[in-house]
Chain length 286, copies 6
């Protein structure tokens, strides 16, 4: 008895070892540049706890977490108040996973943390394309003078990815300048995901990174986020998008960000995050 | 003054006596086999309190609670920690109501309690058919070794009803085995209620029991339940289903289960339960 | 430094002076006749605080709060427990704004406060028509004996407006008598906004007052209100309605009522109110 | 079965009829003049529900609710938005109970409602003395112009009681003028209950009315009230006071006011209110 | 990297292996006989999460968790709805720890679970004495017919311990019969811990089991429990008691029960539980 | 009307201009180095809103806010994620106020922000002594490698103040090393404020800065803070300390930090912060 690990706490069903796994799940509990309401640092822990209300089997994809190789690597331990160092550590971990020829699903934290995971994926796959599902443009060149901000993560990614690589969906908030800038540099669909399927057909055989900011969901159905932006999509629409991802032949990594359990007193938003994690893990684990 | 009953607490408008009534409303405050998050024991009391935010008139059905005969029988007092005895007491009460040639609407409590009310209905109407609206299959043969569990209530009902009698809608969660089993033994529509109307046409003239697990609703709009399962239906879709029930000529009883007011800090889920109770009472009270 | 006003608290971007502005925003923190769950008195303060989670630019209308002239006049200070005096003070303020040839957006408070703002608009524009978006009929002649009640505000407005002037949409709750009365005296669409566009075409060139009771939204997505009435519209449907308002050439004033932040622990309902305020301000500020 | 009253909802153990009882418990769900945070209208219902977490036996007084005659008369149904009429109805009910030679324990609601119950007691017992336990002086002559306000209830009571009849304890908030006024007209102990026992000895054989505003408790231990005033007494000090009341030979009636369950998410304040009700009922029921 | 256990979740500082440790900490997430408000099943997980807000060093005892040998054995996995089997599994685990000559600190769960841990300690130390800190007598012979209930745990323990072995402190709630029964069979101090030190002196050299029901604390300062009983002790009084425990030379095991995080929205009660766990671990780890 | 400032939002009664005032109140909404639970950024706004539940008159000090000269300077607008720049801006503002020969009361934010206000006071008054009321030592040389952390604010202040200038009270949490270090460099009373009066007598005529970390209060009575540390003082003990401050002849500035309204669902902690602000403003305003 003495050595049985009674209290390892993983996402439900993710009980394979690192070596047995093709996909690594890990958390990045960082919300240091959040300007309005912090709290995404608590997301991954809440998701692990509440994942036990979920089945491991997905009737949508007809696959089971227990049948595929997924390792839950826990949360990164991050230095406080040093955004640069935080981003470096996320980058290093992501590079290591990719070097071992595994895919990863990163769970934030605020959206800025995707900058490092996208960069790691880009380094390995220079032809990387990014599918970005979000309420916000995230295209500011800076936010209150800071270049590294949750509000500029896609703009910073464009710095290395360049034009024609970023596909944005569901966007319904930003400054006028951001929408203007997007016209030249990214593909941006406002308000909905109607053109996602069409764009996926263009991306079938290139390496794709998917970044899902959960605030793309309407705050009426998903209140658990720091910057609620009304007018978003329903959870069934997000499930539909994930089903469409199955046509992509080269998803190399993905992330799910911006759950803030502090604003989710009922647990319903956390449940949505849990289910999204399950569906994305099964999507990655081909 | 002395004898005026100032504090009888009924569902709004249900002020008829037992003898004057054709329909009996009663609560079953039991959540003893709930594995994830308990709390449905508080449902009926919350529903009674908040029903006073509702009108007695339904513009959907153009009927008024005050115009029909409904008795609110209060909540059953149940022994603690003895699942078998709890089920026996629910059975006895349900039998008594049916013996008096009344219909009933039972409000849970967790879904397991429907086992006794369905059984009582089946005893009186051996040709009973069951319409089951739920997020979960509830078809496990046992749950952690227990045969009597919220997760096996429909399987246990099949034990006596047999094949061809159970019609499941909105199902989006379960083990793979349960979905497989359903193919042989029940009618099961995944994810939505699209085929409900069609199936109702087959059931027009047989005795029907309707069991509504409120977690069929998307937790984004109905967070107040113990096991939130994202991807569910909207409340307008549930209202639509109730409208379709009007074509059934022999609804003999019904239940509404799994509201957990603990996870409903705003009261919105309780309001949905209240309105569902009103519409189902008016549906039963022909 | 000494004289800089560090803590004026306005709705985001509303930093013009009264004289520079064509539109005046003001709050009416009154919930004195609320029968079920009070709390709308806290709405405007919550909206001001949380408006800073919003952008000033609307991608829906392609306009920016900062580009138009809007003055945030703060909240009226109201005498307690004296409904009549409260209504008088709202009337006086509204008259003053209209006399200065400005439009206003009033934020409640409970719905009764619209009686004074509608009256002020009617006095200036005798041909006034009212678009009323709500879950409830609000057509009672009295409520528990009181003529001045949140439940009778539209009926009281009819007292001076007369037949043919009131257009109600989204209505799904009321006494049978109210629905009957409406058949003779108002235009009333039940459950949805499907005929709004058609009616707007009839009202293109007459003076229009728009009163939005936010409980028209489904409480599943908008729980932050005192009398949640399930079966309502989504936030995207409300946004669509506001887009349709752009065809109206003579909107003279408007209001948004019945947010109750007490029942909005996540802030999502307040975010919806904020966005509705922004869209309506931009609608008024032509 | 049909006629069994399954859902009468009384305070625990208060199951005697009016005629069998010496003490009447009743609720007054009114918070109409509350200026800061409303919600005391929900107090009595919460107290009834949560009283079932309590034993009927008091080890402090060595008495049991079930052994004495107490009738729970429910809540008064009150007209909305008409303070004067509300006070008249409370007065009428209180007079009726006293006329039948019973005592009562009234549970508010805001403190203003005590004006009517004190008046009824004074009419029957012209030599009435009042023990007032509170955080606030409640001695304003008016509040924002209103003579009938929660902040002036003791001043209004002084209008008929006159000097030398009012004994205030625990007071730690008020305008300077109120503290000055008290020097001439009432006995007022600031901050604590240290002199309560001494004063009780002076009041042993005169008719005494006890009014307990629960906000006398420190909001740290009793947050469930509309106007939290830090620096108050502990619950054990309140229990001690109740024990001292046992020396009074002529307590004719009492009240407990200002619980606001809205601000009591844990239920701890409601539990304190429940226990205070039990102890005061047993104190009255000699 | 691959094999680093990133997400083992222990109480802060408890990172020794079983073999290195003298004290075993484990959780029992069971609340199956809770009659009023369930939720203690969530206690140990909340305690582990929030223990990271605590230091490992105690300035009260001048000891540090990291300097002593403590193993966090996780939570027992328990069968649902089968009280008897649950108690058997707790017994088996406790016996195993004691057989390995270790002490344990068990964290509940509801108080009934102490029955098995006390029994295990009694089997190994037949001269066992029990110090019982609680708001409630827990001396019922049965509760609604059930012999195995949270309300009878001390009575059931008396079945095998016999007279003169149980010392109860802080008791302020129970049926009259329980207080009477205690006079013959246990030592029971009502309301406070004043005689604890004196009794500890009698118990210096006998084997002692300490069971702390956290509801002994006043619910004003510790709301996070299912059955709040006002009039309890302060947290400083509980700390003082733990300091007094240092005089006991043979504490063989202990438990801390009845934290219910559901009723602790601020986390303050969980923080108290965490600190109590730390102090008791250091007390056991001599 | 147009120019009336309807919505300036100050602490109650603080309506003097900067020039008329001797004391400046300002807020510092920064929680960037908070490691456990962020949220103090919301403190000052909550305090302003809820101060309207308070009287302007203090019966403890027999003074009234309206009779003295206090200017509410609002909140500093701070750059995000740049701790160094944040501290610089606080320093600059504090220096400006002191240069104008005014005192200030700063309200945090997390405790680190006191570093700048203490430094500004020290620059003007090189003989500055600091009274530090807190649960935590705050004497770490660094926290996870960061020199500028909430956990090292007093240590950093010692860097310039040196030995013999810092007086710490109520301390009950820290690493063993911090308690050891304090023995050489500060005066530190553990657990209580018992020696405060004695030390105040030593400091009667030197310049004194008072920094109050509200987590010195027991989290049972003051849950609204990020790092709750059980075993603290009561609010009456804090009031008593403030009364003792009246003997100090040279209080030059003060601060109140670490209220986190996120963990204060009832508002009771915010009420305590409000009252502490009032008492400290009156203490400063001689």
């Amino acid at each position: 008895m003495g050595n049985r690990p009674f209290n390892i706490n993983t996402f439900i069903g993710c009980e394979k070892s690192y070596d047995e796994s093709d996909v690594v799940l890990f958390g990045v509990p960082f919300d240091g540049t959040t300007s309005f309401r912090p709290g995404t640092r608590f997301a991954m822990q809440a998701i692990r706890n509440d994942s036990f209300g979920l089945e491991t089997y997905s009737p949508y994809l007809n696959k089971d977490i227990e049948d595929v190789g997924i390792y839950d690597g826990g949360d990164l331990e991050l230095p406080f108040g040093n955004t640069k160092k935080v981003l470096d550590e996320i980058l290093a971990y992501s590079q290591e996973v990719l070097r071992d020829n595994k895919k990863f699903l990163m769970v934030g934290g605020e959206h800025l943390v995707s900058l490092s995971t996208i960069k790691a994926a880009y380094e390995k796959y220079p032809n990387l394309h990014v599918i970005h599902i979000d309420a916000h443009t995230d295209l500011r060149d800076d936010y209150l003078g800071e270049k590294l901000s949750h509000a500029s993560v896609i703009r910073r990614s464009h710095d290395f990815l360049g034009d024609g690589r970023i596909f944005q969906f569901g966007i319904r908030s930003g400054m006028k300048e951001e929408f203007e800038w997007a016209k030249e540099h990214t593909y941006l669909e406002r308000f909905s995901l109607d053109t996602l399927q069409e764009k996926i057909q263009e991306l079938t055989d290139v390496p794709v990174y998917i970044t899902i900011d959960l605030d793309v969901l309407d705050p009426g159905v998903f209140p658990g986020t720091g910057t609620p932006e009304p007018g978003g999509i329903t959870y069934r629409e997000l499930l539909e998008a994930i089903k469409q991802f199955q046509s992509l032949n080269q998803i190399v990594a993905a992330d799910i960000v911006e759950l803030s359990p502090q604003y989710d007193p009922s647990g319903a938003s956390t449940a949505m995050a849990c289910k999204t994690v399950r569906e994305m893990l099964l999507t990655l684990a081909d």
